[in-house]
Amino acid sequence: YLMLGRWRKKHLTFRILNLPSTLPLHTARAALLKAFEYWSNVAPLTFREVKAGWADIRLSFHGRQSPYCSNTFDGPGRVLAHADIPELGSVHFDEDELWTERTYQGVNLRIIAAHELGHALGLGHSRYTQALMAPVYSGYQPHFKLHPDDVAGIQALYGKKSPETGDEQEETEITVPQGPTEPSPMPDPCSGELDAIMLGPRGKTYAFKGSYVWTMTDSGLGPLFQVSALWEGLPGNLDAAVYSPRTRWIYFFKGDKVWRYINFKMSPGFPKKLNRVGPNLDAALYWPVNQKVFLFKGSKYWQWDELTRTDFSHYPKPIKGLFTGAPNQPSAAMSRQDGRVYFFKGKQYWHLNRQLRVQKGYPRDIAHNWMHCHPQIPDTTPSGGDTSPSATGPDHSVTGTTSDTTLSSIDTTLN
């Protein structure tokens, strides 16, 4: 590998200025976001998307000539993209290429974007022809991953991803037999009760039921996957799931155990035993307003700070004391990045505003408003308008976003 420079900071912003016409917008965006993830998975770098204003790294597509770039492109083939070294941040793609994803045709946007981001982060071209940072595009690879030379290069610039720190004294490491388990039948998203729901990394909303998980977007549902196919080592029939943008950790709860992942990789030492909160939780959510994780069971909740040793002597507290109008014993819960909270129970859900009060007109039907189910019998519950949930958050961030709200005042309110 070759090092061309480095950023003097490790938390970088990026902005996608335009997208290619050859791919659906969400596919192109997903490819670009994934490209950042390859690097943040192996180095202590974080990337946060901004939708306006200045960003450290700016991605755009331009043709043969651009008033904003002195390096011309050459039409289809040959030069595909170029990027500036740190700390300039321009990443340009030739808009005349056939940008594709998940196909051997055309040029894979995700792989080329990862290569150019390597330049933007300070890597030059690698001598290894199989490395991502090799100068010549070697084609689409369905199981693409960084070459050891790419990893060594980025870690030479920014160090290795540091060991995770946290409130690990709270739990005791346990061993769970990893024997094969019989998956439950594939559930119908339009009926029955959810086990858990989570606003996960990159603004994706996941629903869990039995042995299966699927994503939900404004336009429809993703395919159903077995939970263990996405999160290796994780059982089905979960009690609760929550993602913390603050730490990028995903927590799954079942029985008296907790599993912790970053993206789809389990943290070392997990699963652990839940010692300080009750077993068999009902639901969990992360509230961005105070950056705390809330755990629910029966009519009570615990408020947990992941990064400090939480004093649980005043917990659990009654749900109704904080979440006005929310149901006891919820089956699932989640919050949006703007602080709105949703509780799920049975076939219904409740929407709470930032003041944690249930909005008028709730509960409503989960199947109709979240699962895109259209029953033959007309649904009499109101839906749509600006109170309808959006399955995807408005701010898609690779590493999550944090709220600017003054935490001390919120904590006072909570206590």
Binding site: R78, L80, H82, I112, H125, R127, P135, V136, Y137
Partner: protein
Amino acid sequence: RALGPAEKEAAVDYLLQYGYLQKPLEGPGDFKLEDIKQALRAFQEASELSVSGQLDDATRARMRQPRCGLEDPFNQKTLK
């Protein structure tokens, strides 16, 4: 077959564009044949091709492959 001047010129342009040939700051603008051969050898070695210093079919095919627009850092010194 004998290469035409356009093919030779395209190859020199490639070597120049991607950093295998360095335009001298002083003296005549033309490259010496030995400079071009040395640049070809560096390109072939970095591309895991047979190192001949000749503009053969494999080398020209490699030069036609889609790639990144940034320069390569490979020369005899860095490869060594």
